[in-house]
């Protein structure tokens, strides 16, 4: 119980005293998650639309496959990406190991099924008459796709929020690919894992609260955007 109490106080201390290690981790988390979520949304939302909107043979199978990939553990993603970008892997020359872009690749793989699956569900939930309406008003395929996403914007945002949360709270990929290197690839979550490993439980909780504060900021932004729309 004390951990929690000390953790709360510790969180305030870290944030208010501008602890440089903590701020470095926050900054890394921000850069990393922005990079990975941007890529994921750019690729995932169109794929989710295609999967949710069109009927094609094997659609159910693809859907089941995507849902299955939701269960990919982060460590496994870390291993898979590592196999490719390790120096002896096929992409070793790119020097992506222990870098933020490298971790972003893993987080992309992690978040993509979430975005695809939930966007597809969001699109399926839209009244099919809406799509017909868009077409009768002369929307091109692309315009109709964008507009029907706008019609289902709450559910699409939910997909994005879920994926973003997954990305900032994950530790397996960041640890495996990023290496938790101090000042460089240490994110809030890998810092938490480190502190917990050291037995510094209240520090772990304090950093956890810092992460939640970070997520709260992001969500408040999203929520105020939502309100405007």
């Amino acid at each position: 119980m004390n951990y929690i109490f000390e953790g709360v106080i510790g969180a305030f201390y870290l944030l208010l005293a501008k602890d440089p290690e903590t701020y470095s981790a926050i900054w890394t988390t921000l850069r990393l998650s922005t990079l990975s979520i941007t890529c994921t949304l750019i690729v995932g939302i169109p794929l989710g639309f295609l999967l949710g909107h069109y009927n094609f043979p094997g659609k159910r199978a693809v859907r089941t496959l995507v849902d299955t990939l939701l269960a990919l553990p982060t460590v496994v993603i870390g291993l898979l990406v590592y196999a490719f970008i390790s120096r002896r892997g096929p992409l070793g020359d790119l020097g992506l190991l222990f870098t933020i872009p490298g971790v972003a690749i893993g987080q992309f793989i992690l978040a993509l099924p979430i975005v695809v699956s939930l966007t597809a569900s969001a699109i399926e939930g839209i009244d099919p008459k809406i799509y017909l309406t868009l077409r009768t008003l002369g929307a091109s395929d692309m315009q109709a796709a964008l507009s029907s996403m706008w019609e289902g914007r709450y559910a699409v945002t939910a997909a994005a929020v879920t994926a973003y949360s997954r990305v900032i709270s994950e530790v397996g990929v960041s640890m495996m690919i990023g290496g938790n290197i101090k000042w460089h690839t240490r994110t809030i979550t890998t810092a938490i894992a480190l502190e917990t490993g050291k037995g510094e439980f209240s520090m772990g909780i304090a950093l956890g609260i810092v992460l939640l504060a970070f997520a709260l900021t992001a969500n408040t932004l999203v929520s105020s955007l939502r309100r405007r729309a």
């Binding site: 002896r88 222990f98 490993g197």
Partner: protein, 252 residues
Amino acid sequence: ASQYLMMATTTSTDNTGLLNVIAPAFEKTTKIELRWTAVGTGKALELGKNCDVDVLLVHAPDKEKKFIEEGYGINRREVMYNDFVIIGPRTDPAGIKGLKAIDALKRIKSKKAPFVSRGDNSGTHSMELELWKKANITNIDKEEWYIQTGQGMLNTINIAAERDGYTLTDRGTFIKYEANHNGNPPLVILVEGDQLLFNQYSVIAINPKRCPKVKYDLALKFIEWITSDEGQKLIADFRLMGKQLFVPNAAR
């Protein structure tokens, strides 16, 4: 610093805070930044095999030798040691206090007292398995009292504490654990000082012949520095709770 050196090391060197002292000093002297990833010994060696790091700081002598023999690493230098201790509840239900390591394990087995093993192929785990072997105790994998955690040292100690069990730990981590409990931990040292419980840490440079891209020159500089007087003194002076954690023993 424009140049940096990538090191893979075991969790104990990082968790105790030793590297937080060494890295700045090294950079100050050599203008080389030290970056490290703290993983299990097994994983550190695997990273080395894949040429993903430049240098290793690990503590599993047998595996290290194999690693060198297979040509993955060169220039292995011993750096420091600490020792392993067997810890357990203050009440010591199996009564092992003061025994030799082998006898203590035999006692634990016969009393079926809970023994918590890391079970993760780490240096500590390798040492533990060796001790069981020396005590001629086999087939304990599925025993009710033999708990395999597959986790880091501190978590394993915590599990042992929760279960009122015994475990084998390196002294550094135990001091850290003591510190976490403000010097009054539920588990205390019951067996120590046995010659068998010696824990050697070494540095290894990754073989540039196999891995042309590794920063072999920087790795050599690090090895040279850590085995130098400056490096060795830093290790000797590193203290937690006023206790020394590692004993430098680099051979000249």
